[in-house]
């Protein structure tokens, strides 16, 4: 148990050095998430509410019946030649600026940001097509309520600093507003995927810090960033061990009474006969080198004395393994297992004990050998 305590202290010290800074980052970013304005941080401040079918007008829908749409089985799907091995999965009818298109999907993950293979066909002509920058501009415009000028659409490839998880190309349209809004649209269907502004970028940065997404990708479950990666797993386990060792230390120190929880308890008055060199003074003598100190009863005698400037010899700092912190008491004290191991029975019979193994409340008169200058001077002054 004693060496276990030592280990906990050692583990705790070194782990805190390793994870300390990240611990602070976790807490501060956590506070940010706690306090942030979720509405603002969504990036949708200047985003118009648009139905998923891109604002299909009632009249368009009613007249759809009159449109002669090419049946899907007549589509020239041979044009999917770029991915000949990928089987056809799904065909969606999508409306873009009041015109119907077939969105032909051959690969799609459970999440929209995962890699997708799909093509767009004009549902009336049946021709393979792609939306023009002019159409994208128009859609972007209708989704933006800010009124500032919008840039020309740009088709860009992943990765995106504004959307780390996204693995498909997107159209980007930038607004010239003070919050630096950027509008991202689906490269194939032109659907507005998200608005990103400086508020949203701050939130994304906070997530990056919280998830330790520092671009050091190893042991990633997938390349989409996020929180499943080797670095954060190592740090999380270290932080867990830090917490556990901390709690072990806390419990041990509490049991030993070296805690300030005992501020309120009554101090114990103990007479200490001290000498700075062997041999021990006779416990029954009335030496002039006697000092009366008030000790915290719940503390170990070793700590209690040390707090009064009376330092006993020790190599293990009170862990009960070095056998150095010997003292003599004028009353009989129970022998602890650590004492059995570290003191010869002849000394135990004479009443020698280890100060780290007994509480201050157990003694009233003791004899000790002090080390270090502060003990000497302190004892000397008061004596």
């Amino acid at each position: 148990m004693a060496s276990f305590k030592l280990k906990a202290a050692w583990v705790h010290k070194w782990l805190s050095l390793l994870v300390g800074i990240q611990l602070l980052i976790w807490l501060v970013t956590g506070l940010y998430f706690n306090l942030m304005d979720a509405e603002k941080a969504s990036g949708n401040e200047l985003r118009a509410a648009m139905p998923s079918n891109l604002a299909l007008k009632e009249t368009t829908r009613r007249d759809a019946f009159f449109l002669k749409m090419l049946p899907v089985n007549e589509l020239a799907l041979g044009e999917r030649a770029s991915h000949p091995t990928e089987p056809l999965k799904k065909i969606e009818l999508v409306w873009v600026l009041e015109h119907p298109y077939y969105h032909v999907i051959s690969r799609q993950g459970p999440h929209a940001y995962q890699p997708r293979s799909s093509l767009l066909f004009d549902a009336v002509s049946g021709n393979r097509t792609a939306l023009t920058p002019a159409q994208i501009s128009q859609i972007a415009n209708s989704s933006y309520t800010g009124g500032s000028a919008l840039s020309r659409p740009e088709l860009i490839q992943p990765p995106f600093s504004d959307y780390a998880a996204q693995q498909n190309p997107m159209w980007k349209v930038s607004a010239n507003d003070k919050n630096n809004t950027a509008i991202y649209l689906d490269s194939v269907t032109g659907q507005v995927i998200k608005h990103v502004n400086d508020d949203a970028r701050l939130k994304a940065l906070m997530f990056k810090l919280h998830f330790m997404d520092y671009g050091l990708h190893f042991m990633d479950y997938d390349s989409s960033g996020g929180f499943n990666h080797g670095l954060i797993i190592i740090f999380a386990i270290s932080a867990l061990m830090l917490s556990v060792s901390g709690i072990i230390l806390l419990v041990q120190r509490y049991q030993k009474g070296s805690f300030s929880l005992s501020i309120f308890s009554k101090k114990r008055s103990v007479s200490v006969i001290y000498s700075s060199a062997l041999p021990f003074s006779d416990i029954h003598s009335n030496s002039s080198a006697t000092l009366t100190v008030k000790l915290d009863p719940k503390s170990s005698l070793f700590r209690g004395l040390s707090r009064e400037g009376i330092h006993l010899s020790s190599l293990c700092d009170g862990a009960g393994t070095c056998g150095k912190c010997k003292f003599l008491a004028d009353n009989h004290l129970a022998i602890t297992p650590a004492e059995k191991v570290n003191l010869p029975s002849s000394e135990l019979d004479k009443g020698y004990r280890l100060a780290c193994q007994h509480k201050c409340s157990e003694v009233s008169k003791i004899s000790v050998i002090t080390v270090g200058s502060s003990a000497g001077s302190s004892a000397g002054n008061s004596g």
């Binding site: 501060v28 998430f33 999965k89 797993i233 917490s243 709690i247």
Partner: protein, 222 residues
């Protein structure tokens, strides 16, 4: 401060679980058998124009597959239904027997079904399901970690998969954000107070750390 220590333990313990479990696995993506069947267009005998004529309230159609055969999912704004892609016949909403069939078709393993029930209102809905999917069939399997599929009564799609790893994750999340009632609110006072105290604890800890390492050094040099 003891509360902070305890919460540190909870934060780090729940954090380890959440970062070390693959989020796609947590979402139950591995419970679904990979589907490789191609949508066979030659068997699709109904065109979208015909559907528009038949269902004038509809706005969108998606041609997809249900258990390997082509279907149209028809959306009318407020609700959805399915139409057989080869016959053009509107299918009734999914009954219990079909729900079980669908569940077994898409489930990656062959565990028996333990329980099936229809959930129609948010009052009878378990917390692990989102109300936007209602009405759904809940199909519980007997396997390890209690896999459960939720199948839309309107479209037959497997809309949500859950297993105990997700359920544990959800609890971990609650303990992580310290929202001990419904687990949805990061902006709670409790979290604020403990996190602020936590910052103080880490700062005072770093002072101690510097002192400790300083001591160790001076002992070495002595």
């Amino acid at each position: 401060m003891a509360a902070v220590g305890l919460q540190f333990l909870l934060w780090t313990f729940t954090g380890v679980y959440m970062v070390s479990m693959d989020i796609h696995y947590i979402h139950g993506e591995s419970l679904i058998k990979p589907q490789s069947t191609t949508l066979n267009l030659s068997s699709v005998k109904v065109s979208m124009s015909t559907l528009f004529a038949q269902y004038p309230n509809a706005s969108n159609f998606t041609l997809t597959q249900l258990m390997g055969s082509p279907i149209y999912i028809v959306s009318t704004g407020s609700s959805k239904f399915i139409v057989d892609g080869s016959t053009g016949v509107r299918k009734p909403s999914i009954d219990e027997e079909t729900a079980r069939e669908i569940a077994q078709f898409y489930y990656v393993k062959s565990d028996a079904i333990e329980n099936t029930r229809l959930i129609q209102s948010s009052a009878e809905m378990p917390a692990e399901l989102s109300s936007r999917y209602l009405p759904v069939w809940q199909v519980e399997f007997e396997g390890i970690a209690n896999p459960t599929f939720y199948i839309s009564q309107q479209t037959g799609e497997v809309v949500t998969k859950r297993h105990d790893y997700w359920r544990i994750f959800d609890w971990m999340w609650r303990f992580h954000i310290m929202d001990y009632d419904d687990g949805e609110n990061v902006a709670n006072w409790f979290l604020f107070i403990i996190a602020a105290l936590g910052v103080a604890a880490v700062l005072s800890g770093s002072v101690l750390l510097i002192v400790r390492f300083g001591e160790a050094r001076s002992e070495h040099t002595r």
